[in-house]
């Protein structure tokens, strides 16, 4: 049974409003930080907690905050990334919908540590109704004195603004997000300079994910050391995972980092296994991370149980491992077609590429067209190698990681499911029926299950 740090009260009636939230211990971290701690002490707790960014990259949060430049007379900003557009990911939405004050509380406490008097929530356009929930919570918090001037008589001022995006995935990339927040087209910036030095309006800025900032609340309440006791090594604390696909119990789960992958996917506490059929493949961290066969998800290439940690999921590198990513977990049963799913992903990335740099702009479109042809029974024998070469020439050669994110799902699908691609070329008539594997599950060559 995993501990519930973020979701302890998620089902408590009235928790969405300030009164209910407060009655269940809400805003204690603000009281504790502003009344009894220095900003440095708050930063120290976050460092000790071992918290890593929950937005996808897993960068240590305390370290990121400590990079924040502090020139005299220049404002600093905290920007919360609520863009959550990674296919398969819906954990931030759930948190903001159900317990919006937790995000606001985390933002005040975190901003105090950074010395930021203004912070922003950049929320994806499709979440307009969630933005309303957040706006209302901010209004409540402001009326009760949790926001505004001289909070709790501490002399610390803070204001939070909400900005709704217009639905571009790329605006989740932190520098594209900042461009968009400044009112420009969301093109990623060329780094360096990094946001910690030159971010929003050219001022030092920290961009953090919703879940990361919410996790600051229990860290400050109970101390970084307590938080670090959960998990294994560099994967400390709890993590929200949004589970979908062919699992029996889709939903958002808070897990202790370090539970086994087997427990997560098969136990009734979490995903509850698969309905009726067999699992074929798993994408554990959102569409950008490599897809791996179910067998490799349960056990690493060396035969050890795989764990839900940053390190264990990546064990084996790209050859046999994958990544924690954003926690957008989805599993495929044997009726699913990997080629179709890869095409679907490629179409997404091709559509979402901002178009600034040539390998991503041109390469994502090319991959989409090749995959479309394969999936629709018009594939050619050279297509698999061509696809492999195109993804290889995108990866690592672009301005921002979207290029890599587009390349990895294609690379991993070919690496682990090449036989399925070959099937599409050999049996064009069969795959012209979009439900091809539903009628006749693909019999995998066991060679591909482990390598």
């Amino acid at each position: 049974m995993s501990r519930k740090l973020l979701f302890e009260h998620i089902a408590t009636p009235g928790i969405r409003g300030l009164e209910g939230y407060r009655a269940n211990g809400g805003y204690r971290s603000v009281e504790k930080a502003l009344r009894t701690m220095s900003p440095e002490a708050v930063l120290e707790e976050v460092k000790k907690s071992g918290l890593r960014g929950r937005g996808g990259a897993g960068f240590p949060t305390g370290l990121k905050w400590s990079f924040l430049a502090k020139p005299e007379g220049v404002p600093r900003y905290l920007v919360v990334n609520a863009d959550e557009s990674e296919p398969g990911t819906f954990k931030d939405r759930y948190l903001m919908e159900r317990i919006p004050h937790m995000l606001i509380e985390g933002m005040i406490t975190s901003s105090f540590a950074m010395g930021a008097h203004t912070s922003y929530i950049y929320i994806r356009g499709e979440y307009f109704y969630v933005a309303r929930i957040i706006e209302q919570a901010i209004a409540e918090a402001r009326a009760a004195g949790w926001l505004g001037k001289n909070i709790l008589g501490s002399g610390f001022d803070h204001e939070i603004h909400v900005q709704v995006g217009a639905g571009a995935y790329i605006c989740g990339e932190e520098t594209a997000l900042l461009e968009s927040l400044e009112g420009k087209r969301g093109n990623p910036r060329i780094k360096p300079p990094f946001p910690a030095v030159m971010g929003l309006y050219n001022c030092p800025t920290v961009v953090n994910n919703v879940e990361t900032i919410a996790a600051v609340v229990p860290i400050v309440n109970d101390g970084g050391e307590e938080y670090a006791k959960i998990g294994i090594g560099k994967s400390a604390g709890t993590k929200l995972i949004s589970a979908g696909g062919n699992v029996k119990r889709p939903g958002v789960y808070e897990i202790d980092l370090g539970i086994t992958c087997d427990e997560f996917i098969n136990s009734d506490e979490y995903c509850g296994g698969v309905e009726g059929r067999a699992f074929k493949a798993v994408v554990p961290g959102g569409s950008s991370v490599p897809i791996i066969p179910y067998e490799l998800f349960l056990k690493t290439a060396t035969g050890e149980s795989r764990l839900m940690t940053y390190e264990s999921l990546a064990d084996g590198g790209f050859a046999t491992g994958t990544m924690m990513g954003s926690g957008g977990f989805y599993a495929y049963n044997d009726a699913q077609c990997i080629v179709r799913s890869t095409w679907n992903h490629a179409r997404f990335y091709s559509h979402e590429s901002c178009g600034q740099c040539s390998p991503c702009r041109e390469g994502t479109g090319w991959m989409e067209k090749i995959l479309h042809r394969l999936e629709h029974g018009e594939g050619r024998s050279e297509d698999i190698d061509l696809l492999w070469d195109v993804q290889r020439k995108i990866e690592g050669n672009t301005i921002c990681p979207l290029g890599d994110a587009a390349a990895w799902p294609v690379a991993s699908a070919i690496r682990h499911f090449r036989d399925e691609f070959e099937y599409h070329i050999r049996f064009p008539q069969k795959v012209k029926d979009p439900k091809h594997f539903e009628k006749e599950p693909f019999a995998r060559n066991p060679k591909f299950a482990t390598a």
Binding site: N187, C357, R361, K393, N397, I399
Partner: protein, 203 residues
């Protein structure tokens, strides 16, 4: 002043020099060393903040600096990366890099009409040169290419998106060099140009 070595050739350059500029300085110093100069399409010396988009100037940094000798994990855009003291760079001496560059050239051309025989720029075209010098003989792209109707945005800049490789140089020329010229008593045209060339203003 930092010293940088590109394909085995060393040069000392002022602080804040990019790898591309350093390579060009090596090439000017001695013509025999011109192979160290990476090609560049979207970078233009007279423009601020140009470069970084086309990726044709990618190079491999095999040693970051004397202080931090770790190699850089990915190829970097030499037009937007400053040299560090002790940095070692590979341009033509890295086969993987040359392969990556081939890829970039191919990408730049997959949606290009390749109508050089009827194009006015042929013969003095940087894109043509880039493809001759760094590309492959044939394209593997067999799908329909993007096309656009040319748009008249005035006499300063020609906008023909079918041939465009999105280097952003015209956007920056319009902004930094031709801005006042366009604005001169020609407001409607300027607005139209803004719409088409200035994506961030809602084009």
């Amino acid at each position: 002043m930092p010293k940088v070595t590109i394909d085995g050739v060393m040069i000392e350059v002022p602080e804040g020099t990019t790898i591309l500029q350093a390579a060009r300085m090596i090439g000017e110093r001695n013509k025999a060393d011109r192979h160290v100069v990476p090609p560049a399409m979207c970078y233009y010396t007279n423009l601020k903040t140009s470069g970084g988009y086309c990726r044709s100037c990618l190079v491999k940094v095999s040693k970051g600096s004397d202080r931090d000798p770790r190699p850089m994990p990915k190829p970097v855009a030499s037009c937007r990366t400053n040299v560090m003291d002790g940095m070692e760079v590979q341009n033509t001496t890295s086969p993987e890099l040359l392969d990556a560059r081939k890829g970039v050239v191919e990408f730049l051309l997959i949606n290009h009409p390749l109508d050089c025989p009827i194009c006015d720029q042929a013969g003095e075209c940087h894109l043509q040169d880039l493809s001759y010098e760094n590309g492959t003989e044939a394209s593997r792209y067999e799908f329909e290419r993007r096309t656009f109707v040319p748009i008249d945005i005035g006499d300063t800049i020609k906008l023909h998106m079918t041939r465009c490789i999105l280097c952003y140089r015209c956007v920056k020329v319009a902004d930094q060099i031709a801005r006042w010229a366009c604005a001169w008593g020609d407001q409607p045209r300027r607005c139209e140009r803004d719409q088409h060339l200035h994506p961030e203003r809602g084009g």
